[in-house]
């Protein structure tokens, strides 16, 4: 029985370094190749030695698929392809292909140039890695090889985020990456057709959360920003350069315009300009409204938001600053945070999920004293707010996706074990399907039960469908009969007659003749006539014929009467039929019945 195996190398009961191995129909696929934001050691990358101990991965993987450009989904890619070694195809959407190398380079710079780490991938490695990328279009069926095909669906998590359907023969797996089931200010909602995969591998970041409406969250956010500005405080919003940043910029831009506010809004890195440019060029990946109006008014041209310079952080007076990275684990956002943390008038708004170990995670848990590098401690006096703006599906959204795709099994990754447990129960209850949540390095095996595709001769099919009548009757299923010819790898179902003909075989006729003796004083032909008229009256609805050659036919059963030479009253009745006539019992019953009748005469 064929199996599908799923092994997370990362993101198994955890968030970070997403990397999931799927083995289906003899093909091995790696889904995402991310890094972990919470670690700076080996645990930063997935453990590729699980795949093979010695060296290159090319022989062990048929393809790698990257769902979106966030580093926890693609951060280990150059390490995997260039340092461990993989030369096969890497699939990602066009926007991901465009943005991913920029974030990787950014990540590399922070790690190597600022932290001084060695033995890390180089700029050239990022370039070489990106050369192996094959771009994916939405809904396009990409044939990786003769058997393996993949298809991308819109995931709505960030620009270019995709869910992917992996199919080998009749077995299939869907991997969601990160997705969002409600459209936001710049992206649309995830969508998938009823593809009924054997396994749906879903993220579960917000497995236990059911979030209130986006409008409320937006109002809250604006209110908090506004209040801080009014009292002269500074607002820091740590974000990733692409994604939430654009959504929140659109939000603040319209608010500033409406309220006629004057406090400056800055966006930290040089990436912004570029980032907004990507949004303009990939406008087809944004939501309906932005796409419809982009000719008249491009939503990604901001009037109130200006580029940030490091020196501005010390400027007096209120301001709003978007700074990268989003989890306050390094870079400019952390620098600004250090400067502003001591003043209770200021505020930091964390608009997304923070991985364990990051400063973001610590302050969200209420930690008031942070140990910084060089044994210094930092007192956190500023207000810390959390606003769930990260575009992950909540519990309701995950259930909605299950309803859309109708999977036979469910597998949760990219979430915390405790929360997963809760969602798993809920899914198993509501959909009566098995739900798995393997830890890293743990393999889930799902046995599939694929049906066998066969070529049926159209003649046979049409004949059977015509016999079945225009509407199927569930109470009276019709049995069809055919011959399956197995030759090489082809399976063809044809009518038995056609099978004989095709195989060059002649039919072997098997006939039975039954003799019944009885006394009857009438002439042979009279006896036959009586039999005929009697049967005719008894067997209504059947073809009973009296043929001129002195036989009676009941359907295809032949009846003959002859008398023995010695005793003209002793009649021999011969009943003859072929093996294919499916009425032996019926015939026997009829003959006995008939004999009884005749004897009584």
């Amino acid at each position: 029985m064929p199996d599908i195996k799923v092994t997370p190398l990362g993101a198994g009961q955890d968030v970070g370094r997403s990397c999931i191995l799927v083995s289906v129909g003899g093909k091995n696929i790696m889904l995402d190749c991310g890094m972990h934001m919470g670690y700076n050691d080996d645990r930063r990358f997935p453990d590729f030695s699980y795949i093979t101990q010695n060296g290159r991965l090319t022989d062990f993987l048929d393809c790698v698929i990257i769902s979106h450009f966030h580093l926890d989904h693609c951060g280990a890619l150059p390490y995997m392809s260039e340092m461990v070694g993989y030369d096969g195809p890497i699939y990602m959407t066009h926007p991901t292909k465009a943005i991913c190398p920029i974030l990787l380079e950014d990540f590399r710079k922070i790690t190597v140039d600022k932290k001084g780490e060695t033995n890390f991938f180089t700029s050239q490695m990022i370039k070489d890695c990106m050369k192996k990328v094959v771009p994916l279009n939405l809904h396009q069926t990409v044939q990786v090889d003769d058997e393996l095909e993949i298809k991308a669906y819109y995931a709505g998590h960030v620009l270019g985020a995709a869910m992917v359907l992996i199919k080998v023969g009749s077995e299939s797996v869907v991997y969601t990456g990160d997705y969002n089931m409600t459209p936001d200010r710049h992206l649309g909602a995830a969508w998938i057709d009823k593809c009924r995969p054997d396994i749906l591998i879903s993220e579960s970041t917000y497995a236990t959360t059911i979030r209130d409406s986006k409008r409320c969250r937006e109002r809250d956010f604006l209110k908090k920003v506004h209040e801080t500005i009014e009292r002269g405080g500074k607002v820091l919003i740590p974000v990733f350069a692409l994604g939430r940043a654009q959504e929140l910029c659109i939000l603040l831009e319209t608010f500033w315009y409406r309220m006629n506010l004057k406090a400056p809004i800055y966006f930290s890195t040089g990436l912004t300009e570029k980032a907004n440019h990507y949004y303009k060029l990939f406008i087809t990946w944004t939501n309906q409204k932005i796409r419809k109006t982009f000719v008249q008014r491009n939503m990604f041209e901001f009037k109130h938001i200006k580029a940030f310079d490091r020196s501005y952080a010390d400027n007096p007076g209120p301001m709003v600053v978007f700074a990268t990275p989003g989890m306050l684990h390094a870079g400019q956002s952390l620098q600004i945070f250090k400067k502003w943390a001591g003043n209770e008038k200021n505020m930091v708004i964390m608009p997304g999920y923070c991985v364990q170990g990051t400063v973001g995670h610590k302050i969200l848990n209420g930690q008031k004293k942070l140990e910084m590098e060089g044994r210094a401690t930092l007192e956190v006096k500023l207000q810390v707010e959390y606003m769930s703006f990260s575009a992950h599906a909540d519990a309701k959204g995950i259930m909605q996706l299950i309803r859309m795709a109708e999977p036979r099994n469910m597998l949760l990754v990219h979430g915390e074990a405790k929360k997963m447990e809760f969602l798993k129960d809920k899914i198993e209850q509501e959909f009566s399907i098995s739900c798995y949540m393997p830890a890293n390095g743990e393999t889930t095996t799902v046995t599939t039960n694929p049906s066998v595709p066969v070529d049926i001769s159209l003649n046979l099919l049409k004949r059977e469908m015509a016999l079945g009548g225009p509407l199927p009757d569930p109470k009276k299923p019709r049995t069809m009969h055919g011959t399956l010819i197995m030759k090489d790898s082809s399976l063809r179902l044809v009518s038995p007659e056609q099978a004989l003909k095709e195989l060059g075989l002649s039919e072997h006729q098997l006939r039975f003749t039954c003799r019944v003796h009885l006394q009857d004083p009438h002439s042979d032909s009279d006896t036959l006539s009586r039999i005929y008229s009697h049967l005719k009256s008894v067997l209504k609805g059947y073809a009973v014929q009296h043929l001129p050659d002195g036989t009676v036919m009941v359907e295809s059963i032949v009846l003959k009467v002859s008398s023995s030479g010695e005793d003209p009253n002793l009649k021999v009745i011969l009943l003859s039929w072929s093996y294919q006539v499916n009425v032996e019992n019926f015939l026997a019953t009829v003959s006995l019945f008939w004999i009884r009748v005749i004897m009584q005469l």
Binding site: T284, M480, C514
Partner: protein
């Protein structure tokens, strides 16, 4: 007498009215007669089939969808239209442009008098040769365009779209324009390719996907180049040199063109050319109600562009250089000649504007403005209209005319190479492709020569496609498949008899195991004989093979039948079972069992015989 007079009077009055309005309709210009009317359009054939029975319309490219509202609106059409996103968006722009052109110069009435058969017959050509003039229609409204477009379902290249479970359609890149597609229509066993408007030249769209066309049973070929004798590259060169010559002499250049398509390539070509020709300061004007949209849309379809342009987006830079032309004020676009344009435009300049037929749109104004000066030049690049016909109503003209049709679609040479490559079993094409053009009857290179010859069609002809469907895909449920007992009939060939229940739903077929009969509760009253006839019993398999005499005798012996007398006959043997008083007639292809009304014996003999035969 009086009545006759009246009739006569009436008749002449009628005639007079007709003549008067006819004179109003007809205009003469430089010896040619024209109809002065609201423009009308010749539609695709609508009488031949009932459009409400059409399930699906596949759109090849945005030029091929201009009649969509005529098909989908007011005809009972309730199906789905499939198109790629660029085709949909740019198609919408082109229709919007057409509607705007029409609305700008409203005419109260369409001319109809000239359509009267008796009158049309008397008119000079080409008016008298026009066919089906009564079926011509006025332009649709924006409302109808929107309604038509609401029936469009967007698809991407290589997306497999299931239609009713019966067939799969897939658009493939055709290399002709943004989002242009060829279509594959296939079932599990048959494959029809529809190749329309394809290009192998490297222009802005994604290259043509040729390999996916392989293994077609039938390839329907249409949309070849209209100007097979003109080389697009040469034409582009001529375009540039004529343009430069005119500008240098202080004249203006008018390029009547569609608002999307070749214009992107022209702008890109000029972007490089103008500086090198030292004409960098010459302004370009693109005037169309959809000019801005067309330029903006062209920049957001990176996925549908050639590699070269795609990689620009990764930088991120706009894929087309006209963004830079706009930024540096070299290219300006206006919705019409009114308003800003009239105060801003400088001469000499290059104007791109529509409609290429010169019958409506802003181009008409420029013809009137510039036509009288021999310094100016009009350069025709669109191949859809005869430039002589287009210019006829403006004669006499002083401006220079240059004809540089740029049609990037396949020529006959490229087609024959393509067909050699993809090797379809049959080719279906319009009749025109099977003979040289009438004006160049000696050019046997301007036609399709194929073996076997292509099946040609003409308007309203119905062709049967030359394949017979033999097989359909069916799924055996795993439980059924597992229960099958294959036996090897010949080396490498096994057979298994299948008795199963057929389930057909949405054109998908599944075979399930036969359900076990639910035991019928024993009824006291014996049912009538008739009702006992077992309809549900599976039919018996066919038999094949022959029965070896010795082995058969041995097995009879084993089952206790020992007194057997064997008699040889012409065709085989007759076995007399003495004790049982039964006969078995064995022949090469037949066996006959004759016995008294002894059911157990008959069954036993039957099973013995069956042991030696193959079941099918």
């Amino acid at each position: 007498m009086y009545a006759d007079l009246m009739r006569c009077f009436n008749w002449t009055e009628c005639m007079l009215i007709v003549l008067c309005s006819l004179l109003k309709e007809l205009k003469e210009c430089a010896g040619r007669v024209f109809v002065d009317s609201q423009p009308e359009f010749c539609l695709p054939e609508r009488e031949l089939l009932d459009l409400s029975t059409v399930d699906v319309i596949l759109i090849s490219n945005y030029h091929c969808m201009m009649a969509l509202p005529y098909i989908t609106e007011h005809t009972g059409f309730s199906g789905t239209v499939y198109a790629t996103e660029p085709t949909f968006q740019i198609g919408r722009l082109l229709m919007e442009e057409l509607v705007t052109f029409m609305e700008r110069v409203p005419k109260a009435q369409s001319a109809t008098c000239w359509k009267n058969k008796e009158i049309q017959r008397m008119l000079p050509g080409p008016l008298k040769d026009a066919v089906d003039v009564w079926s011509w229609k006025r332009c649709y409204s924006m409302q109808e365009v929107n309604s038509a477009l609401s029936k469009v379902q967007l698809v991407g290249y290589s997306q497999k779209v299931e239609l009713f479970g019966a067939v799969q359609v897939t658009p493939l890149s055709s290399g002709y324009s943004l989002g242009s597609s060829n279509w594959i229509i296939q079932s599990h066993y048959e494959k029809v390719s529809y190749v329309s408007g394809s290009s192998l030249l490297t222009t802005h769209p994604q290259p043509m996907d040729q390999s996916s066309l392989k293994n077609s049973d039938v390839l329907i070929l249409t949309g070849l180049t209209q100007i097979p004798t003109a080389n697009p590259d040469g034409m582009l060169g001529e375009f540039c040199s004529n343009l430069a010559m005119t500008i240098r002499a202080g004249g203006n250049v008018l390029v009547p063109c569609y608002s999307s398509g070749v214009i992107y390539d022209l702008l890109e070509c000029l972007y490089q050319f103008m500086d090198s020709a030292n004409l960098g300061t010459t302004p370009f004007y693109f005037i169309s109600p959809v000019a801005n949209s067309s330029l903006e849309f062209s920049q957001i379809f990176a996925e549908w562009l050639c590699q070269n342009k795609q990689s620009k987006v990764y930088l991120p830079e706009p894929p087309f250089p006209h963004a830079e032309l706009i930024q540096t004020n070299k290219l300006k676009h206006y919705p019409s000649i009114h308003g800003e344009f009239s105060s801003e435009f400088r001469q000499p300049c290059v104007v791109f504007t529509g409609h290429p037929s010169l019958r409506f749109g802003d181009v008409v104004h420029f013809m009137e403005l510039w036509g009288k000066s021999s310094l100016n030049t009009i350069i025709f690049t669109e191949p859809d209209f005869s430039y002589l016909d287009a210019l006829a109503p403006y004669q006499p003209l002083a401006m220079k005319c240059v004809y540089c049709p740029i049609d990037t679609r396949l020529n006959f040479h490229q087609v024959s190479k393509l067909l050699k490559e993809v090797q379809p079993l049959h080719v279906v094409c319009p009749e025109q492709y099977t003979q040289p053009p009438p004006a160049q009857s000696h050019r046997s290179d301007l036609m399709l020569e194929l073996q076997p010859p292509p099946m040609a069609y003409r308007r309203c002809s119905v062709l049967g496609l030359p394949f017979r469907r033999r097989y359909e895909r069916i799924q055996l449920q795993p439980e059924l498949a597992k229960a099958l007992v294959p036996s090897e009939i010949k080396p490498g060939i096994s057979v298994a008899t299948v008795s199963a229940v057929l389930q057909s739903k949405d054109n998908k077929h599944v075979l399930q195991p036969v359900p076990k009969p639910t035991p019928v509760p024993p009824s006291k009253k014996r049912k009538r004989l008739m009702e006992e006839v077992p309809e549900l019993l599976s039919p018996k398999p066919l038999l094949s093979g022959s029965i070896p005499l010795d082995a058969f005798l041995a097995s009879l012996h084993k089952s206790g039948i020992t007194e057997v007398k064997v008699e040889e006959t012409a065709d085989g043997h007759i076995l007399h079972l003495q004790a049982e008083d039964a006969l078995i007639q064995l022949e090469e292809d037949a066996t006959h069992i004759v016995c008294d009304n002894n059911e157990p014996l008959r069954t036993a003999l039957r099973d013995l015989v069956l042991r030696f035969l193959q079941k099918l």
